[in-house]
């Protein structure tokens, strides 16, 4: 009966109908998403510029953008900055703080858990540009951090000038930790209580249960979370741009900021595209890793 009815519902060409249903998304994705990605591979080898002659007559320049990139000391600084930012703000900061929060929040009273959860989530739902402003105020010369130092009888510190990388890292931890916390809360919720109890009866201490039972069981979540926050952090632009502008000097110039400066401040669009190609390739590798880890059923 069911088969008969679905046959009448599915009359006509399924492939034609699917094509029509998928057409709008294909057009938009090809034009505005996959198109630009493919164009990256082309424009990275041109001298396209924002103004002047090269903005009209685009010339193919081979690997010139890449050779000048690899001989540019700023490029290496920005790669180092990106790695430092990535490791300390995402992999160590957000991931470990998120895990500690999720772990400590288990078995706490419901209302307490909710309050802490809301406070951490507040940093996450705050738009990135406001996050930058919030931390600009916190680390400013007359900001809250220095007011607190004043109460303690200490001299104020020019945080954004002396420790700019620390400032952007803390701001990004504040903004992103909730995501890891949510991932780990879900993962810890899936760890069967019995296994932990069995380990406890066998005399395992808290640390042993953490290292030998809990961590191995949520290894999958740790890996996927790591890849996801790496991808998110790799793309962070607004936070750093508004908080320090990549400065002072090039102290917080990560790859996205470097890309922006070359493309839109120095008008070297071709060069900027070469940098974005590097960013894109890192992103593609991380995305493939992520899909491998997910083992989704489609």
């Amino acid at each position: 009966m069911g088969g008969l009815i679905s046959k009448s519902g599915l009359t006509g060409n399924i492939y034609l109908r699917s094509f029509l249903f998928l057409l709008p998304s294909w057009v938009l994705l090809l034009l505005f998403f996959f198109g630009p990605i493919l164009m990256t591979f082309f424009f990275a080898f041109t001298n396209m510029s924002l103004t002047g002659v090269a903005s009209r007559n685009i010339e193919f320049v081979g690997f010139k953008n890449f050779t000048s990139m690899f001989s540019d000391p700023t490029f290496y600084t920005s790669v180092t900055n990106t790695i430092v930012f990535l490791v300390f703000s995402a992999i160590i900061g957000q991931q470990i703080l998120g895990f500690i929060l999720a772990l400590l929040m288990r078995e706490r009273s419901r209302s307490f858990r909710r309050i802490i959860g809301v406070l951490v989530l507040a940093g996450w739902v705050t738009p990135e540009i406001v996050v930058a402003f919030v931390w600009f105020a916190f680390f400013g010369d007359q900001g809250t951090a220095n007011t607190v130092l004043g109460w303690l009888g200490l001299k104020p510190v020019a945080w954004l000038h002396q420790f700019p990388m620390v400032c952007v890292i803390i701001a990004n931890i504040w903004h992103g930790t909730a995501f890891s916390m949510l991932v780990f809360q879900a993962a810890l919720g899936d760890v069967p209580k019995e296994i932990e109890e069995a380990a406890m009866i066998d005399g395992a201490t808290g640390w042993q249960r953490l290292w030998r039972v809990i961590l191995p069981m949520i290894r999958g979540s740790i890996m996927t979370n790591m890849v996801l926050i790496t991808l998110q952090t790799l793309g962070v632009f607004t936070l750093i741009y508004a908080l320090t502008g990549g400065g002072p000097g090039i102290a917080t110039e990560t790859l996205p900021i470097f890309m922006y400066h070359q493309a839109f401040v120095n008008y070297q669009l071709g060069y900027g595209t070469a940098i974005s190609l590097i960013l894109l390739l890192i992103g593609i590798i991380a995305s493939i890793l992520y899909i491998r880890l997910l083992k989704v059923k489609i």
Partner: protein, 282 residues
């Protein structure tokens, strides 16, 4: 002996019970302090960069809300985000239908491409997108920006929509076809209403992320009168310099509220999303 036992027990209790509460409270305080400043400063007539008890006023909000340039930037943001989220729901909903209902040869590769695209950093494509907009003479257009934002949100939306649609039982649709409904009517009159939680989820998250997006309109839009709130707030940094922190805080707060409200709403829909699978029972 008894006191020693008590002490060990108390130590154990302290380590296991009190310490976690202390650590969590400390983290909670550290998370809320930076935010408190914005809230206090927004209500402070003479706000400084430091956190302090405000000289209560709503003057900052009044001057932000009565300023025409600010009104326009909020309207631009609303136009951009609302337009984008409606487009995303429609286009992703259409795409999800064959992916959920039909056996298609290209379904698996397509879904993998979609999944792959959800995780690519958008930052990396902004320079080529700008170049493309320049070539197509598409710069400085709110519609063009909206279309790009729509495309960038599509992979995630298609993925979520397909999952939601998978949980709408096909039997309900078959019943409608039996009554003479077309595929299109079945989608519109049977599937769409049952997918409302999914539709709201996609719409809310699309709106919130679009509302908070600074980089895309910052690159693609140049005219000051077309800038959405996410970008015009940045101009405040320079415009008011070191003086009017109260206004900047009030603007930040007004600008943050829609995003926060939507995330709260979204969470409710998120959990309700999968509760209608019992529709065929009974």
């Amino acid at each position: 002996m008894a006191t020693r036992g008590n002490r060990i027990r108390w130590n154990f209790y302290f380590m296991g019970r009190v310490i976690p509460y202390l650590i969590l409270s400390l983290i909670g305080i550290l998370f809320v302090v930076p935010l408190l400043w914005v809230i206090f400063a927004a209500f402070d007539a003479h706000a400084t960069l430091s956190i302090r008890i405000p000289q209560a006023t709503i003057g900052n909000f009044v001057s932000i809300l009565t300023d025409e340039a600010n009104q326009r930037s909020f309207m631009n943001g609303l136009f951009l985000s609302l337009g984008q989220s409606v487009l995303v729901v429609i286009v992703a909903g259409l795409a999800a239908y064959p992916l959920s209902r039909y056996q298609l040869k290209y379904k698996r590769p397509f879904m993998y491409v979609i999944l792959f695209s959800t995780s690519l950093p958008l930052t990396a494509v902004m320079v080529p997108v700008y170049q493309m907009f320049a070539l197509l003479q598409f710069q400085d257009s709110l519609i063009g920006t909206m279309l790009f934002l729509t495309a960038s949100a599509l992979p995630y939306a298609i993925w979520i929509m397909k999952n939601f649609m998978d949980s709408v039982p096909i039997e309900l649709e078959e019943a409608a076809w039996c009554d003479g409904a077309s595929v299109w009517q079945g989608l519109r009159l049977v599937v769409a209403p049952l997918m409302l939680p999914g539709i709201f989820t996609v719409m809310i998250f699309t709106f919130a992320s679009s509302w908070g997006n600074f980089f895309v309109p910052y690159i693609l839009i140049q005219s000051p009168e077309k800038l959405p709130a996410s970008v015009s707030i940045y101009q405040f940094f320079g415009q008011y310099g070191l003086v009017e922190y109260g206004k900047l805080a009030a603007f930040s707060l007004l600008y943050t509220i829609p995003a926060v409200t939507l995330y709260i709403l979204g969470q409710r829909y998120m959990s309700e999303g999968f509760n209608f699978s019992g529709a065929t029972k009974g």
